[in-house]
Amino acid sequence: MSRGLTVRFAVLAALLLVALAASVSLGSVWIPLHEVARVVAGGEAAVTVWTTVIRTFRLPRAATALLAGAGLGVSGLLMQTLFRNPLAGPFVLGISSGAGLGVAVLVLAGGTAVGGVFLSIAGPMGSLGHVGAATLGAAAVLSGVLLVARRLNSMTLLLLLGVLFGYAANALTTVLIHFADAQRIQSYLRWTFGSFAHVSVPELGLLALLVGCGMVPALLPAHSLNVMLMGDQYATSVGVHVRRIRLIAVGATALLSGTITAYCGPIGFVGVAVPHMARSMFASSDHRVLLPATALTGAVIAVTADIIARLPGTEYVLPLNAVTALFGAPVVAWVLLRRRPNEVKT
């Protein structure tokens, strides 16, 4: 690994540590860093409530943000490489629409005639909560996508099918919203805002396990993905099993984005923007560098966005999705404009 790379990774890791520390320290109450350190090390804070606040709320929240950011970044990179499209992201396959529809059915459908029909089809979903509904929705899309991806030769067709499915799911959601009462719509909307705050400690374990399961297959084919940048034909010509890599990448993306959407809602922007930031910061197209870089950058962005969203020192919170886009867009624009791949690398 060259020195430039090591420095960049070190800077990113330091940024992540700072962001994590800030994330645990800042909030509606400010907890001094040394108290945070003591609790993290297993001790008790000077104020008893702080220990509870850190253990039950802030640490799981920061960890959720870290996992979600890393997972969304990596799956966004996979999709951009697979589709060779800079606008692709983790949700191009329709995963978030599927999860959204699942939640919509759960939240909006109760008490209406249409909803009754939906719920009777969905069966025991009502008892599962948001996460269960979103997981079911995402899993349904995931299996559909994998089934199609295995048979289709054309990735463009898969992309189009994902977009079409998204429209259909959104249409169904709109119908549900139309028939639902205001309270339920509010509850559904809150889910669409996205949040890292609703993951409990045991749930966090499961989230970490699933994200880990998605990360490993995402990292393994890094070398093949480099060749895939040149297109499927070139990849085939040097001996890459294009279909296999495609299936692995689609599967990993579906697992990552499906799980994260189920727990945190449809977090926009991170998945599309972070891979571009990583490419630009590392001036690289090598997936062996980009995959870890994207994971780290995604984690930093998500943890930071979460800090901003809770408006430290106040009792108000902003919708997470608004923060990621509103604060993230200018940052990404600046990073992209600062250095373009047309410039000669020195």
Binding site: G231, V238, G239, H241, D286
Partner: protein, 343 residues
């Protein structure tokens, strides 16, 4: 059937049909009953009009697409029995289409050609580095190694793509129109490079091209494909003399001139012209008359226009059109004079 000459046989195709399978219907063969042999150290140009299946044939021979019928053997083993990576150590391709590579440097792209030899995450061994530098050197772009592929000119990018293919250390190179989008010198340079590769490293080079003139100067063998879906293999000169090259390309007012070995517009509609003088002035004046639509003939019986040149170096002389005689000092003046004379 053995390969002609003493060169070893790299690839053989027998009763090959190429095209695209359509679901539900019979296979749509673009090109059928192809029998070809590729020998090491030869440069083969695939020529023919657009849409006759040149690219499809090349992709099929490179193993990127399965044949509809027939069989292909690579080094005496059926092509479909080769593992993908093993095959990639024998056949390398340069394909058409733009490659968007972002932050990839030339050297990094050439390194991708080492994929068939890579283990694990593709860490480069010293043998890989040697192969990469060798590939860069053989197409003469060592100085571009650290440039981004996206910053290269079209000609440099083609060379980088060829270097990437060479890094695979193949016995056979398949290139689909590598000279498209290039200027005249760029085209000549690429073809010369390919010819050098076939001569020096003994690679078999199969390349499709639309530049017949250049192809004729560089290729050992032509695979001429006509709109009838037949492939004729032969030395370019033989195909010219047998008239097959002309018959494939003769269409819509353009024809292949066996004498000059180049394409000409079918002319003669304006009238007959005779030019007297010495070359090169005579030749270029004749070309100008052809461009204006005259059929240039050798004897001055029954001609509409007669041009006499004073010397060999410049197109100055006398124009006789009908009963009038006009002097001219250049081709441009001759053209003006002819236009006036016709009025």
């Amino acid at each position: 059937m053995s390969c002609p000459g003493s060169e070893h046989c790299v690839l053989k195709a027998r009763a090959l049909a190429v095209g695209y399978r359509r679901a539900g219907t019979a296979a749509g063969a673009v090109l059928a009953s192809v029998d070809v042999t590729v020998a090491g150290g030869t440069m083969i140009c695939v020529v023919g009009p657009n849409g006759v299946g040149k690219s499809t044939l090349l992709r099929t021979l490179a193993g990127l697409q399965s044949p509809l019928a027939g069989r292909i053997t690579l080094l005496d083993r059926p092509l479909e029995q080769w593992q993908a990576r093993e095959r990639a150590r024998q056949i390398a391709s340069v394909l058409t289409g733009f490659v968007e590579t972002g932050y990839m440097t030339v050297r990094a792209m050439v390194a991708l050609g080492r994929f068939p030899y890579a283990a694990g995450w593709g860490r480069l061994q010293s043998s890989d580095c040697v192969a990469i530098e060798e590939a860069l050197r053989s197409v003469g772009i060592v100085h571009l190694g650290d440039r981004l592929v996206s910053c290269l000119s079209d000609g440099e990018r083609q060379k980088a793509l060829i270097a990437r293919a060479l890094a695979q250390k193949p016995v056979m190179l398949v290139l689909d129109e590598p000279t498209a989008y290039l200027d005249v010198t760029g085209r000549a340079e690429i073809m010369r490079t390919l010819r050098g590769l076939s001569r020096e490293s003994g690679n078999a080079v199969v390349v499709s091209s639309h530049d017949i003139d250049l192809a004729m100067r560089t290729a050992d063998l032509f695979w001429l494909i006509g709109c009838d879906g037949r492939l004729r293999a032969g030395a370019p000169e033989d195909l010219v003399l047998s008239g097959e090259l002309a018959s494939v390309f003769d269409a819509q007012g353009v024809s292949f001139d066996v004498q000059s070995g180049s394409f000409t517009f079918n002319t003669g509609g304006v009238g007959r012209a005779a030019v007297f003088g010495r070359d090169p002035a005579r030749g270029w004046t004749a070309r100008a008359l052809q461009r204006l639509g005259f059929a240039v003939v050798d004897d001055d019986r029954a001609v509409d226009v007669r041009v006499e040149l004073d010397n060999a170096q410049c197109a100055a002389g006398t124009l006789t059109a009908g009963l009038k005689q006009r002097p001219f000092g250049s081709v441009a003046e001759l053209c003006t004079a002819l236009r006036r004379a016709r009025k």
